[in-house]
């Protein structure tokens, strides 16, 4: 095994991949030193970066194997898939930035404390100006007055009630009547900024493309505009442009206004929505990571060995399936709560506690959801094991373990992939539903579920507090829609029954 690994590393291609990985890990490990902060590795952070590294190695491997690369090319040839992939990449970048945690040097003056107890992520730091600009309570998007009236005393000493100006949003405006013109002019600035970035990126990309494909530069432009490339790069560029313009506008405007309003305690809703991305991604991906080993190992074993092994595995998953999932989740989350209460010393900060609850939720969701894939794999392996190449391997005296590893598993991976991407969006939605009924992530964890849950109570107020619900909903919608469209393309490309139709 190790000799094979060494041989692999002698190849130029894998050296490059290995170099990139080492660089990534070094940067991840050493940012504390670079920026004079104390790095904190939350369990979910480590798992997310582990997944990322697996993803990179997997992608590098796929590029080397023509039979695996072909369906993936098929996926990206699909225009819708390409643009949903771009949207997903932006979500993933936000999630990854939010998964680098550290503590800043302490400035409070307390002795012995070199670093503050307040944990921050890279995303928090980048959005510093939004996250720290808290108002007192609700305010509508782009408002400069608060949602609730307050008592004031005028020069004559008469008490009266009025809407106060917000502390941060629109504080630069002398005359409140200038709000709309100001928004318009700032929007133009924001969009122009975005346009500059987009132009720069496009030029760099086209330059790179023309180098890579050995075309001349102007020809590349022509081909790009006509969409004559193998992959729909033009669609990709358009999606990137739209997303970047939107981002630039939102971020630029956030400097002056609360673009999506504020919540009950005055926190910026746009910031909360961005922070929720990580929670959604963690639930969508880590759950799968936890469930895959069970599903693959048990499903393949049941299908391959049949008989008693199959019976036992079937009994396990039918039993597990008959327990209502919600009940199991409630029970486990309760147990975790009690455990944390009794072992407070294990967890230094509230964030760590919330993190362990998030991981527990992933685990229990994983345990309740592996049965579907397991059943699917069992059926597929039933079919595979009768195929003649398996029989031929048997007659050549290949051991069962080796047959499973080299013949069975590679041939069911397409099913695993399809199920994983299809499950992802379901799990993101499940988080919202669980938070709604109060058994989801820790209430202190920022998540779309929690946002929706708290917004629900305010829907009855007059005027309606609609913004936090809408922003949580639209971000979640964008993520789930992109994931669904992408998984549709994956299913079309990988499902052998679909092949030949197109």
């Amino acid at each position: 095994m190790s000799s094979r690994l060494l041989k692999l590393l002698q190849q130029h291609y894998w050296q490059k991949v290995f170099f990139i990985l080492v660089l990534l890990i070094t940067v991840y490990r050493s940012y504390s030193w670079l920026f004079n902060v104390e790095a904190v590795y939350l369990t979910t952070d480590v798992l997310i970066y582990f997944l990322l590294i697996c993803g990179i190695i997997f992608a590098a491997y796929i590029r080397q194997q023509p039979h695996l690369a072909i369906p993936w090319r098929q996926v990206f040839k699909n225009k819708i898939a390409m643009s949903s992939a771009v949207v997903l990449v932006f979500f993933i970048i936000a999630g990854l930035m939010d998964s680098i945690h550290f503590r800043q040097p302490d400035k409070s003056g307390v002795k012995d404390a070199a670093y503050s107890t307040d944990m921050q992520s890279l995303l928090d730091v980048s959005l510093r100006y939004i996250s720290t600009d808290s108002e007192k309570t609700y305010s509508a998007p782009f408002a400069i007055y608060s949602y609730a009236k307050e008592n004031f005393i005028n020069e004559n000493g008469v008490k009266y009630r009025a809407y106060p100006r917000l502390k941060f949003a629109g504080s630069h405006l002398q005359d409140p009547r200038n709000r709309w013109p100001d928004i318009a002019s700032k929007s133009v600035t924001g969009l122009l900024l975005g346009l500059m970035i987009v132009t720069l990126l496009t030029v760099v990309f086209v330059f790179y493309l023309s180098k890579w494909r050995i075309h001349n530069y102007s020809n590349t432009w022509k081909k790009l505009l006509k969409g004559e490339f193998d992959l729909p790069w033009n669609v990709m560029l358009i999606t990137v442009a739209v997303v970047i313009l939107l981002c630039c506008w939102l971020f630029y405007m956030s400097n002056f206004y609360h673009v999506m309003g504020t919540d009950k305690v005055g926190q910026d809703v746009f910031y909360l929505t961005l922070k929720s991305i990580r929670t959604g991604l963690v639930i969508g991906t880590l759950t799968t990571l936890i469930m895959l080993p069970f599903a693959i190992a048990l499903g393949v074993m049941a299908g391959y060995f049949k008989g008693v092994v199959d019976d036992v595995i079937q009994y396990i998953y039918t039993t597990l399936n008959s327990i209502p999932g919600i009940l199991l989740i409630v029970a486990v989350m309760l147990a975790i709560d009690v455990y944390i209460e009794n072992h407070t010393s294990f967890f230094e900060t509230a964030i760590e506690r919330a993190d362990i609850k998030l991981l527990a939720l992933c685990a229990v969701l994983g345990i309740t959801s592996w049965t579907g894939l397991c059943r699917l794999l069992r059926g597929e392996v039933f079919k595979l094991r009768e195929l003649e190449y398996i029989q031929a391997a048997k007659s050549l005296g290949v051991s069962n373990f080796k047959i499973i590893i080299s013949h069975i598993i590679p041939n069911v991976m397409h099913i695993v992939l399809i199920v994983v991407v299809l499950d992802f969006s379901g799990l993101v939605l499940a988080e919202a539903v669980l938070a709604y009924i109060g058994v989801g992530v820790d209430p202190s964890t920022i998540s779309w579920g929690n946002m929706i849950n708290s917004a629900r109570l305010e829907l009855a107020r007059d005027p309606v507090v609609w913004w936090s619900l809408l922003s949580a909903f639209s971000f979640m919608f964008a993520l789930v829609l992109a994931a669904n469209l992408f998984s549709d393309a994956i299913r079309d490309a990988f499902d052998p029954r679909q092949q030949g139709v197109k």
């Binding site: 023509p66 039979h67 695996l68 195929l387 003649e388 190449y389 029989q391 031929a392 391997a393 048997k394 007659s395 050549l396 005296g397 290949v398 051991s399 080796k402 080299s406 013949h407 590679p410 041939n411 139709v501 197109k502």
Partner: protein, 673 residues
């Protein structure tokens, strides 16, 4: 002169992007079908014959495929100009179609009666008791016994042959003028094939409908077809009456097809093969499509498109030899090598199977109680000699594959003995099993499913070496792989390719290389050529012969194709329902079959030797019914319910093996003296 029923003119059906490099599946096909005649389109897989049929019905899979040009005139009506709604009244009504797979062509949740009544209502407006009477008449007419009961059955209760009969009954229900039969018997056994073809002929005589028969099998067209069109790479290359075609085929491709058929007469030489492969249908042809592979080809062949030449009003050929009398053609001499077939008389026994029994238990209920057995193999004895070929012949379901797998211990055996070079390996230890696997290897029927699509050829061939000869290092393994590829006639560059990059025949070569990797002495070949086209089959048979000559391999050749047996085998064992009914030297069994089953089997194979071709139909022994279930074999002689010569005693007692000559035995009471 019979009137024309259907005329296809310059039909072109393309797949993929029509403007940019389309797959020209059907590329300018024209033919006429007269009322009441049988017209056959003959061709190898991928030549566009099925697409021609689907184009007539306008059932071309859409949007992938499009009919780009041509006209299909049916009774002075151009079908291609009809709308989808109008087509519905033609499809299944005037023109009916039956497909290759009777198993998947019937709806499993409706009874036979419901399915036929649906057609009756749709096309003839018959319902109620009248429809029921019509169903019974139809089922009777396709020879289904006890039609009143069968009509109430669901498809899964019927056997393959019965289903195909029901399909035919359904097609007949609308009283069509034209029946398109797309490989109607390919999925069926020889004896059933004979029944079905005979049935089609009878029905045609009675109703006077025309039949368009699509097939790859020269055998089944030799019997009752009126006209034959040979298709190659999307176009018709020869068109003739049956007699003309069988007595003097003119196109080089047709000639090659005949030459590549195995038969007894060719035992002593290699079979004629067509070199190369069918050109990809995306090519834009400049000249003759057969140019690359033709022995007669001259420069002019590839210079302009060749037209179909009318020779005498009934025989058309698309070949320059006949359209341009000025060019001189010489066949490049590639007559197959004579090979000496006199193997050294060698009676060294390498493998012996003694009274092998394999019964699969049927388990039911929660506690998996055994409620019965499938008597798949029930006392089979075989002997394999060094360097010889034993053919195991029988219909599907008779247990021949199970025997083959048992020889390499892929099945658990119930009773009996396996002796490998005199050593008992019936219940082998791990070491014995390893030994066995270096001595005996197996080759499967379907080269498409016999290789892991995700492995490279080198990895596929190496597999056995890694498992059985771990002492070899990597470079030694590579050497072996390269040597093996050379042996089976594949280039060295194949090692880094994936199975899907090869054609069927090449894949089967890789499978053979994989089996040879561990230096076996015995190869169990489970129908290794039945998934391949005739010309490719010839290449494989040559390879098998050559490997046997070079390495003294012994083959257990499991097949249902008796002409392959005649060509390749030294001995034959005929199997029926888990037992051997006749065994002997190939000449003995083929020339004077003793068991009634062997006789019926031999008579059911259509003879296509052009030297002996005559119009008189030979005597076919039609067997009643089909192979009984191996769960409840009939009492007495298993063959008795279908035997045309059965006697009283046959129902009570299983006959013992009678010795006819020293090497020829058969189990039948008729042989008792």
């Amino acid at each position: 002169m019979a009137s024309t029923l259907l005329e296809v003119k310059n039909l072109k059906t393309y797949f993929g992007n029509i403007k940019h490099n389309p797959v020209r599946a059907v590329d300018g096909v024209s033919f006429k079908i007269n009322r009441g005649e049988t017209f056959a389109i003959l061709g190898e897989s991928g030549c566009g014959k099925s697409m021609t049929a689907l184009s007539i019905m306008q059932l071309v899979p859409s949007p992938a495929g499009t009919i780009v040009e041509g006209s299909i005139i049916y009774n002075d009506d151009d079908l291609l100009k009809k709308s989808e709604i109008e087509m519905r009244s033609v499809r299944g009504n005037k023109i009916a179609m039956i497909f290759q797979e009777p198993m998947t062509s019937l709806n499993p949740v409706l009874t036979v009666q419901q399915q036929i009544e649906e057609v009756l209502l749709q096309h003839r407006g018959i319902k109620g008791p009248q429809a029921w009477r019509e169903v019974i008449t139809l089922l009777d007419s396709v020879g289904i016994p006890v039609a009143t009961q069968r009509a109430k059955d669901y498809p899964h209760q019927l056997s393959g042959g019965m289903k195909q009969r029901v399909m035919i009954a359904m097609a007949l229900a609308s009283e069509p003028d034209l029946l398109i039969a797309d490989e109607p018997t390919t999925a069926l056994d020889v004896t059933i094939q004979a029944q079905v073809m005979n049935l089609l002929r009878d029905i045609q005589k009675r109703t006077g409908m025309a039949i368009l028969l699509i097939t790859h099998d020269l055998g089944i067209v030799s019997d009752f077809v009126d006209h034959i069109a040979v298709m190659y790479a999307g176009e018709i290359v020869e068109y003739a009456t049956r007699k003309d075609f069988f007595t003097k085929p003119l196109h080089p491709y047709s000639k090659k097809l005949f030459a590549s058929l195995p038969s007894q007469a060719k035992r002593n030489k290699n079979l004629d093969v067509i070199k190369g492969m069918v050109p990809p249908l995306t090519t834009e042809f400049k000249g003759c499509r057969f140019y690359e592979r033709c022995n007669f080809a001259v420069r002019q062949c590839n210079e302009k498109l060749i037209e179909l030449t009318d020779l005498n009003g009934v025989h058309y050929v698309r070949c320059l030899q006949f359209s341009d009398p000025h060019i001189e053609f010489n066949e490049k001499n590639e007559t197959p090598d004579k090979i000496s077939h006199d193997k050294a008389i060698n009676n060294e026994i390498v493998y012996q199977v003694d009274k092998l029994k394999i019964h699969f238990p049927i388990r039911k209920g929660i506690f998996k109680k055994i409620t019965g057995y499938v008597y798949a193999v029930d006392g089979v004895s075989l002997t394999l000699y060094k360097g010889k070929t034993l053919a195991l012949v029988g219909e599907s379901g008779c247990g021949k594959t199970t025997v083959g797998k048992a020889l390499v211990h892929l099945n658990d055996m119930t009773a009996g003995k396996l002796l490998l070079k005199g050593h008992d390996i019936s219940s082998p230890s791990a070491q014995q099993l390893k030994d066995l696997r270096t001595h005996v290897q197996i080759i499967f029927q379907d080269p498409y499913s016999a290789m892991n699509p995700r492995k490279r050829v080198a990895e596929i061939i190496e597999e056995g070496l890694l498992a059985l000869r771990p002492e070899l290092n990597e470079s030694a393994r590579n050497d072996v792989v390269v040597r093996l590829l050379k042996q089976v006639g594949l280039p060295e560059t194949a090692v880094n390719l994936y199975p899907h990059e090869f054609s069927g025949g090449q894949r089967q070569r890789i499978c053979i290389a994989r089996a040879l990797a561990v230096n076996p002495e015995i190869l169990v070949c489970d129908e290794p050529t039945s998934a391949l086209d005739v010309s490719v089959q010839a290449q494989m048979l040559n390879l098998f012969k050559q490997l046997q000559r070079d390495y003294g391999l012994s083959y257990l050749f499991i097949t249902h194709n008796l002409s392959v047996v005649e060509y390749l085998a030294d001995e034959i064992a005929v199997m029926y329902l888990g037992r051997i009914v006749e065994r002997g030297k190939v000449d003995e069994v083929m020339q004077s079959p003793q068991h009634p089953y062997t006789q019926a089997l031999l008579s059911a194979i259509p003879k296509i030797d052009k030297e002996t071709y005559s119009d008189s139909t030979k005597e076919i022994i039609f067997l009643e019914g089909e192979l009984p279930s191996p769960i409840t074999p009939p009492s007495g002689c298993h063959f008795s319910p279908r035997c045309p010569k059965r006697m009283e005693i046959c129902h009570n007692q299983y006959p013992v093996m009678q010795t006819i000559t020293k090497t020829h035995i058969a189990a039948c009471f008729l042989l008792n003296k």
